[in-house]
């Protein structure tokens, strides 16, 4: 169980949080303009990297805020956390 540094609350146990999949996938502004393939790309396709991954997390049993995390999935090392809308750190 890792410790997550919530950008709003500080360090808390992982059990207070929920993971929300890959980060920086923006919902298309005009879905109706998209082909089936383009929509499917947004809807279904997610990376599952062994290594550095950008993820969304939410502090469910805390401030309930969503934020982003850079995590090394091979050893669970958290490289950075940052608020929604903030620029992701360079790799």
């Amino acid at each position: 169980m890792f410790i997550i540094n919530c950008p709003y609350c500080g360090e808390r146990e992982q059990s207070e949080f929920k993971a929300g999949g890959e980060a920086h996938i923006v919902r298309p502004k005009q879905p109706t303009e998209l082909s089936d393939d383009e929509w499917a790309e947004y809807l279904f396709m997610r990376k599952n990297i062994k290594g550095i991954q950008f993820e969304r997390w939410v502090h469910t049993h805390g401030c309930r805020k969503w934020f982003n995390m850079v995590r090394d999935t091979s050893n669970d090392e958290i490289k950075a956390v940052y608020k929604m809308g903030e620029k992701p750190p360079a790799k």
């Binding site: 169980m1 005009q30 879905p31 109706t32 499917a40 939410v58 805020k65 969503w66 050893n75």
Partner: protein, 1001 residues
Amino acid sequence: MIKNLRVKTSKFIDETYKISFKFNGTTYYGYKGDTLASALLANDIHLVGRSFKYHRPRGIMTAGSEEPNAIVQLHSNTSRTEPNVRATEIEIYEGLEALSQNCWPSVKFDIGGINNFLSPILPAGFYYKTFMWPANFWEKYEYFIRKSAGLGKSPTESDPDVYEHKYIHCDVLVIGAGISGIMAAKTAAKNGFKTLLVDEKPYLGGSTIYQNSEHFKINNQISSSWLEKEINEIKKINNLEIKTRTSVAAFHGYNFLLARENLTDHLPLENRDNKTRHRLLKIRAKKVINATGSLERPLIFDNNDRPGIMLSSAIEKYANLFGVVCGEKNVLFTNNDSVYETAICLYQKGINIEAIIDNRENVDSKLIKETEKNNIKVYKGYTVVNTSGYKRINKISIMQLSKDGQKVVGSKIVIACDCLGISGGWTPAVHLFTQSGGKLKFRDEDQVFIPNIYPSNQISLGSCNGDFTLDEILTNIPKALKDFLDINKTDYENLEVQSSFNKSKRNIWLLPSDKVIGRTKSFVDYQNDATAKDIKLALREGFRSIEHVKRYTTTGMGTDQGKLGNMHALGIISETAGSKMGELGTTTFRPPYTPLTFGTIVGRNVGEYFDIFRKTPIHEWHVQNKAEFENVGQWKRAWYYPKEGENMYDAVQRESKAARDSAGILDASTLGKIDIQGTDASEFLNRVYTNAWNKLAIGKCRYGLMLNEDGMVYDDGVTTRLGENHYIMTTTTGGAATVLGKLEDYLQTEWPELDVYLTSVTDHYATVSVCGPNSKKIVSQLIPDLDFSDENFPHMSFKNTKIGKIKCRVMRISFTGEHSYEINVQANYGKSLWEKCMEAGKEFNITPYGTETMHLLRAEKGFIIVGQDTDATMTPIDLQMDWIVSKKKYDFIGKRSLYRSDTIREDRKQLVGLLTENPNEVLEEGAQIVADINKSPIEMLGHVTSSYYSPNLKKSIALGVVRGGKNMMGQKLIIPMENKQINVTVADPVFLDKENKRLNA
């Protein structure tokens, strides 16, 4: 005749404190300080159990938690009975009762022993190979296999003991209180770190504390005396907490560890009441110091499992710590120097040693010289090739090893003995380190895996790090501690160490025999009866990965996880397959390090605390009125209210009829309620529901369907516009939390520009729903001032009003198809409101109904229940609810997915009504629906999702999903059941009052 096998007083044993205990029904005596194993050995008992597969007699092998053989059942047939307790760990107490496991009728005569003679036909994978055919016989095979196998019996009564969980945060956690752990804990604590030191044993000091040899000295004191002073010092340090009888079970990432603190297992049963038995410690440590020590390796040779064959270090521990002699005619067998310590220790206590067999040829050291000086015969370059003695070893045969160690030469020498101590060197206990994600490296010179890459802030010290000699340990620790703790100096600089250990070792994983391997039984895993032959067979049959070999042969899969033999299994695989040990890797070490009781794992989360449930404010009334309850999410909901003599069916029929004929009342407080405010609230609803919301007038309600982005129905409910920028949304009971989460997600991440605030108010309101043709009369009695005319208060509208002085919100909405009102009040007035409704409804026979009747009534109307009539594959179109999907809205969640190539398929499963040919036949929910019963394989078209007998329509009705069902109106389909077929007709899912006359009545 009971022999006295106590040698000399040991300071760890209190000989003035005699304890009686029972083993297999016979009463024996031991002393305070004894483990069950040491007390049994003192009574000359070696035979303690039978092996798992061949039922071979087995004895006590070790003196610690790695014990594979001596596992017993405590206090059989009582509520405190426990299987698989290691006799080497459990401390004896007055009244302890233990039984051998794996034997029937008794350990001395075991019918399963016949498996030993059948063993040539019981090779690795025997069960997999034999019991596969014929497939339908498996149930019969299983019955017999389970009966003759099995490790002990689980208790049948509930556990009388109390368990608890505790969180601990510390700067430094030291695991293991041997010499390395003591030095580490003292250094950390003295430098201001809040330190916790844990050890699984009841005493501190590890194996050094009972070491009395002149050959091992620190600053000119015998090592145990030096360590004793250190221990006395650390007990006085304030910020150091010491926990004995505490075994670390798991080492997770980020230095999160679980440990079991054993508080009462060493006490007589009568002293355990009202005490916590085990405490699960959840430890978060900034730094972890592994000082977990090492385990002595056995040697693998033919018949190496007889009672009386023990680890050499165990013999030494029994003699030194417990003052117990394991045998009168001892032989030691080794590939390294450490048995000579045992030999000298036994010799000094006057215990007879017949011989030492050393597989090394040209070897010499101070310890060996001294042993030989004492006239103990040492056979150098020899190996044991066989042993004999059924219930206790009585002799061994030895032969000379060839130069390359691959075969034996010369003639056999037979040596009589009653105890054989074996030592194959030492294996660092790296289990916890690897659990944490640590990577090992293989050290070729002594064939051990040692820690290499640390995944978190931790180090390993002492023999768990591969430092086996006293001088290595004491030289390396100060430097390692200074680096790890970032300090300048320790108390241990320039210690003067005297250590006579010669590190040479001749490692032969499988010792050669004069017999062919097929005729030998060289046990690698004692607990699971896996032999070297089994491992070689697995390799011959094509298994290559060690994880596969492990599972096929069951090596390392016992409750001891193969702590003794795993390395030998790897060695034999690597030699046979010609691969390098370092490249082969190890099997995965999994938590727990030693078994945990279920009580420890669940702690206080038992009984009503096992799964916390939620009650509505009206719950007590339901209980008093004998409702049966149904679990919905975490809620307890009234299911039905049986009257005297009624079963569920009768009650539901009566409730359903009453609700339609006159009046029914339902506790709807569990529905999720989300308060939505903000200038963009209407726009927000527009985006999350499929229908349009910006034109909903204040004071009006609207039903909405919520989709996932993939177009599938996710939740539904009625939302009411309370004000210009204020709505209250209801969700399904089970979906409330996830709906709120989803809405928050979109607001925060996709549409942060919207001015919308969400608040969960589910628990703030109690909701009472009154329905039926007389509902208006009942509710208007409670609120006489309100105009209940259809003009003022039409269907799908809401009023802010008061009942007496209590503010309430009344919605005229309906889930039953009847004219009905939902009254919401502040939660603490809920029960009083309910009682007022019951009072007002008395003259109309107002009937409380539960969830089952609610389900029946809505099914008559063809209203869906999300999660029952839908799963995550149903779009609103599939549900024939096209009317709720706005064509005009540019976008809403899931819109684009409704015309993907897959969702526009005509042959998707669609919701339809089903009527049975025989109106009294009620379908089973979940039953399959087919069209052609003769086709092979039968094509499944769908399944029944809801089914009831409708007392109002006087016939059976059902909803189901059927492939292409929308275009099958009136078509006949078949529901095949186990012993019959039921004919059905596809129908409109709305069975009652399609014109909604009742709503407006």
